[in-house]
């Protein structure tokens, strides 16, 4: 989800007023010692005196100008580049981790800048979440992503040579065993399901009156044997599924049966 700040809202023009920004800019040229006064400008564009004064004095800025960023634009560019390079290699930073990186950087700065940083960040060298939000807003190239997890071992093994050697092995096997049709290629894997966890983690919608603060439903217990099971699926690339093989919980190993009462 993008976390960029929305641009400052432009005040709604009053009825009958020349409302485009361009018209105001054109009107600004008339402001001067021999032209329009601030008061006349405000009247003409139906703004308050304070708004007109702010507009004239702040280079046509409509919204309120924020505080000057603590880091220079070069420093911010380096930080942004660091974020962009870290994320594709599985080392993306969360907001808190990014704050820590910034605090490490700030601790390396001169004493004067550290004092200034402490003044800005409430006595600490670690910036807060709002600072990160504003920082992201300044750089349109950065955005926030919901992230998945990848085990370290999986990440480490994902090397081009390993992947290429897997396909080389498949090429050789396909040639050696004369694999020419999709019904000759199969894959097997097991998947485990825990009934209780599935029921608890799943989400469904219920109807209720307006104003419910904590909508919850009660789930029934699961019988001991239904707690969990493992299913082994074997499928072919032609779309055929071999008979499933399911392992359910039971003290006596063997074919699964249930007592009918």
């Amino acid at each position: 989800m993008p976390s960029t700040l929305p641009p400052p809202a432009r005040p709604a023009p009053k009825a009958g007023a020349p409302d485009s920004h361009e018209e105001r800019l054109a009107g600004l040229r008339l402001v001067g010692p021999r032209g329009l006064t601030t008061k006349a400008f405000a009247l003409r564009f139906q703004m308050s005196y304070a708004q007109a004064r702010y507009f004239i004095l702040n280079d046509c800025l409509v919204g309120r100008r924020g505080r000057q960023p603590f880091l220079t634009s070069e420093e911010e560019a380096v930080l942004a580049k660091f974020l962009v390079l870290s994320s594709p290699i599985g080392r993306g930073l969360s907001v808190d981790a990014f704050c820590l990186v910034c605090s490490l950087y700030l601790s390396e700065l001169s004493a004067e800048r550290q004092v200034a940083a402490r003044k800005l960040f409430n006595g600490s060298l670690t910036p807060g979440r709002s600072w990160v939000r504003v920082f992201l807003g300044r750089d349109p190239e950065l955005r926030k992503y919901r992230v998945g997890n990848l085990e370290e071992g999986r990440g480490r093994n994902s090397r081009p040579d390993v992947v290429a050697s897997w396909y080389a092995l498949l090429t050789l096997i396909f040639r050696d065993y004369n694999i020419v049709s999709p019904q000759q290629v199969w894959n097997m894997d097991e998947t485990h399901i825990n009934a209780c966890t599935s029921a608890l983690t799943g989400r469904s919608e219920i109807f209720g009156g307006v104003g419910m603060t904590k909508p919850e439903v009660i789930l029934p217990p699961s019988a001991s044997g239904a707690g969990a099971c493992t299913a082994a699926f074997c499928v072919s690339s032609a779309g055929v599924v071999a008979p499933h093989f399911i392992v359910v919980d039971g003290r006596v190993a063997g074919h699964g049966t249930v007592a009918m009462t």
């Binding site: 080389a168 894959n187 599924v241």
Partner: protein, 269 residues
């Protein structure tokens, strides 16, 4: 009391096995291999088949592999810890559809039984699986899953560079996987018949392996021998302990018996 097979709640040919905890071990894998071999013999029996599985150690069972080999099923183990993008079933077109479907069915069933005041039991779980599997693992979805991992049609280009960048110390740039695959064929041909044994077990770290190749089967059987010896030693130890305990019981019983007979004699006198 009557007993009903759990497999009856599912489609034809399904096997439901009981074990605690409910997962695979060597004994269960043997049963699974027999079931699959039976199916393979009935489905295009003249054609050889390739079966790719992940590198879990429980799959390295020589007896199960031999059963599959007799049914012309050649088993290939994927490089370890890479099934997330090399395995068709792990793809979002296969388990990525099945698991959420099953979860939502389990939850719906649980909510339905709440009002009836009865718990969710094993047949209900079987019904959920029976409904979710055909819905999720459709012909088109499975074809797409194999295409997405580049297994059929064989296509290394489907693996994106973005995937390969994960875990790399520096961004991976400008790699042509198709070209690299062609370059590696000779090296892989030399390696594929050489089992790599690490810490006494077959390793699939960083490389795939044809588990049903004679050299690898031989290595797996050799690997099994010390394990079997350990199992036998354990069983022998258990038997010895039981015999000792029985002897001790007999020894303790002798004075008691003598005492009882003495008491009887005294009573008779």
């Amino acid at each position: 009391m009557e007993y009903e097979a759990l497999a009856a709640y599912l489609n034809d040919g399904v096997v439901v096995w009981r074990r605690s905890p409910p997962g695979f071990d060597t004994a269960v894998l043997d049963v699974w291999a027999e079931v699959l071999a039976q199916f393979a013999c009935s489905y295009f029996p003249e054609e050889a088949k390739i079966l790719s599985i992940d590198g879990a150690k429980v799959h390295h069972l020589p007896s199960g592999l031999l059963t599959l080999l007799r049914a012309k099923v050649h088993v290939v183990a994927e490089p370890s810890r890479m099934s997330h993008f090399l395995q068709a079933l792990d793809n979002k077109s296969a388990f990525g559809r099945y698991q959420p479907d099953l979860r939502s069915r389990v939850r719906e069933s649980a909510l339905k039984f709440r009002d009836g005041g009865r718990p969710l039991n094993t047949p209900d779980l079987m019904r959920c699986i029976a409904a979710a599997a055909p819905d999720a693992l459709t012909v088109d979805a499975l074809k797409m899953a194999f295409r997405r991992v580049g297994m059929w049609p064989l296509d290394p280009k489907v693996v994106s560079l973005e995937t390969l960048r994960k875990g790399a110390d520096a961004p991976v740039m400008g790699i042509n996987l198709e070209f690299l695959t062609q370059q590696l064929i000779l090296a892989v041909h030399k390696d594929m018949s050489c089992p790599l044994i690490v810490n006494g077990t077959l390793s699939t770290a960083g490389r795939g392996a044809v588990l049903t190749a004679p050299e690898i089967l031989g290595a797996l059987e050799g690997e099994m021998d010390p394990k079997k010896a350990g199992m036998y030693a354990k069983a022998a130890g258990k038997r010895a302990r039981e015999a000792k305990a029985q002897e001790k019981q007999l020894k303790a019983a002798d004075p008691a018996r003598a005492k009882r007979s003495k008491a009887k004699v005294a009573e008779g006198a």
